[in-house]
């Protein structure tokens, strides 16, 4: 078993595309708090084995309650919870404890035992599972290098930085070789650089240990950095879900759009728009956001459109980025010219597979 851990998983790219079964399946899950507030409103969700699935939402959206229903720290009032094929709600106490051992959890505030050393913290889940001391020591010797903390074996949490504490939390969550890792705002208490490190670690561990990761966050940048698929929550409901690239490039719901804007910066400040030169008499000036994806993403579309349709095109904002390994560009253009020409230019761009969204000027 010890050897298994060190073996890297075969690169995903070499594997044929095959649908993997659901590791976590929530079906119509509802939860109402004693006060009457609805935390979850018929939420259905399927997390496939091996993927990193993100749930993003503002505070109070219900995402924390949602992740807690997966290991039944929060019991739903209605709906079904299946984890690795097991009907969680049908389990008795002993069965539930066993199921929880196969699901690791990482917390925002790390939740480490202050009076246990790093090694003792990591050993805790093994200790309560009745694993003999010698075996625990061997397992710790594997786990600490995995998270880069072999030098901190005997340190107490108070002596560690936030990032190091979360690494302990991750090592502890992985101690009993779970197949699922739940991350409850795992990076929300960390600075941006540490956040990047921890997210990279989570992704790396997913690859090496073939984990399924469900994480909740209020930061879209976290989703962008680490997730394969994402669900957006608002008022106890999932309002949008899909591949991260799709949700980022084609957000349907306005809440999603505002989340995406935090990372991609779609919005152009009003003051900037006001400073754009006004169109000359008899000409139209229209603003549009153009998303460059697909085969024509690298084509010199702006200068081509300018020549073909005799337009003056002002580039108001623009950037190139990468989401889930796929590059894309986004540009805000102000196109001036004859009304029909502007219209034709936008239609031509759409014909190339670019996304053109007109904005209020």
């Amino acid at each position: 078993m010890a050897k298994l851990l060190a073996l890297p998983r075969a690169p995903t790219a070499l594997q044929p595309e095959r649908p993997r079964p659901d590791a976590i399946a929530l079906d119509g899950v509802s939860r109402r708090f004693p006060g009457g507030a609805v935390a979850l409103d018929e939420v259905s969700l399927a997390v496939r084995e091996g993927e990193v699935f993100g749930i993003v939402g503002r505070s109070g959206a219900g995402k924390s309650t949602l992740i807690r229903t997966v290991n039944l720290l929060e019991r739903p009032d209605a709906g079904a919870v299946r984890v690795l094929g097991r009907d969680m709600l049908a389990l008795d106490d002993a069965g539930l404890r066993a199921a929880r051992r196969s699901t690791g959890m990482v917390f925002q505030h790390f939740n480490l035992h202050t009076r246990r050393t790093v090694a003792e913290n990591v050993a805790f889940p093994l200790e309560i599972a009745g694993v003999p001391a010698a075996e625990r020591r061997a397992r710790i010797a594997e786990l600490l290098p995995l998270v880069g903390l072999e030098a901190k074996h005997d340190a107490y949490p108070a002596q560690l930085s936030g990032g190091q504490k979360q690494r302990v939390g991750i090592a502890r969550a992985l101690a009993s070789r779970p197949r699922i890792l739940l991350c409850d705002e795992a990076t929300s208490a960390l600075d941006p650089e540490t956040t990047r490190d921890i997210l990279a670690l989570i992704r790396d561990l997913r690859d090496r240990l073939d984990l399924t990761v469900l994480l909740i966050t209020h930061e879209m940048s976290v989703v962008k950095a680490v997730c394969d698929r994402v669900a957006v929550m608002e008022a106890g409901r999932i309002i949008e879900a899909g591949r991260v690239f799709d949700v980022f490039t084609r957000p349907a719901h306005h809440t999603t759009r505002s989340f995406v804007a935090e990372v991609i910066g779609y919005d152009v400040p009003a003051a900037t728009l006001a400073r754009l030169p006004l169109p000359t008499q008899g000409q139209a000036r229209r603003l549009a956001q153009v998303l460059f994806t697909g085969p024509h993403a690298t084509r010199p579309v702006v200068s081509e459109a300018s020549r073909r349709f005799t337009l003056d095109i002002n580039i108001v904002s623009g950037r190139v980025d990468e989401i889930a390994g796929e590059p894309f560009g986004v540009m805000t253009l102000a196109a001036s010219g004859a009304a029909a020409d502007v219209e034709a230019a936008f239609a031509w761009m759409r014909g190339l597979g670019l996304q053109v969204t007109e904005m209020d000027a």
Binding site: R100, R101, T114, I128
Partner: protein, 220 residues
């Protein structure tokens, strides 16, 4: 201590020993009973590991009732019980019974507070890892609260030194009793002063030891 006659010096040593015995024995009993009571109160409280108002309410009521009875009254009120337990209602041994009872109630509340200070997140993490309730109590709650429990015990020990001074009322010995009988009733201020100084040093020693232990135990 040349300002005291050899006979008084002997009495002083004996009184100090009586105080140590009364405080030590009642504190040991109070910890032994107070901790389970505190755990029961904490675990059965609303939002606890096993909320149970039928246990929590009556238990809390008994603890409060004991705590609100002035010690000097408690001491005489439970004389029949003391006689049952200690075989007598007079003397240092008999004084341990009401002292232990008062300290148990006092400590139960202090312990309960210390348990409440434990980070709920650590408890939740243990639940998420599949810990049983007993494991959570034994391996998370008590170990994490230990510095707080020790601090509470120190407070209780200091209070017990004060309470034990009243033991003279039921024929118990100790420094307080010596101070009253010789220092006050026989107008021997040098005895009173010596007793007070010894009590101050005694309490200081207890407090310093407790603080040191708390520092050693906590890793915050």
């Amino acid at each position: 201590m040349t300002w005291l006659s050899p006979a008084l010096q002997d009495l002083l040593v004996e009184a100090l020993w009586d105080t140590v015995v009364m405080v030590g024995a009642s504190a040991a009993i109070a910890v032994a009973f107070g901790l389970p009571i505190a755990l029961l109160l904490h675990v059965t409280a609303p939002g606890g590991l096993s909320p149970n108002a039928l246990v929590n309410r009556p238990l809390g009521l008994v603890v409060n009732a004991t705590r609100s009875t002035p010690f000097i009254i408690l001491m005489v009120a439970i004389v029949p019980f003391t006689r049952l337990v200690a075989g007598t209602s007079i003397g240092t041994g008999a004084a341990i019974v009401p002292l232990a009872l008062a300290a148990t109630a006092f400590l139960a509340r202090l312990f309960e507070n210390a348990l409440r200070e434990v980070d709920r997140g650590v408890i939740e993490a243990a639940r998420a890892m599949g810990a049983t309730r007993l494991q959570i109590v034994a391996k998370v709650l008590v170990p994490e609260a230990l510095p707080g429990l020790v601090a509470a015990t120190t407070v209780a020990l200091v209070s017990l030194v004060g309470f034990s001074a009243m033991a003279g009322a039921v024929g118990g010995g100790g420094l307080g009793d010596l101070g009253i009988r010789f220092g006050y009733q026989r107008f021997m201020p040098e005895v009173m002063a010596t007793v007070v100084v010894i009590l101050i040093l005694f309490v200081q020693g207890l407090q310093s030891f407790g603080d040191w232990l708390v520092r050693r135990l906590s890793h915050r």
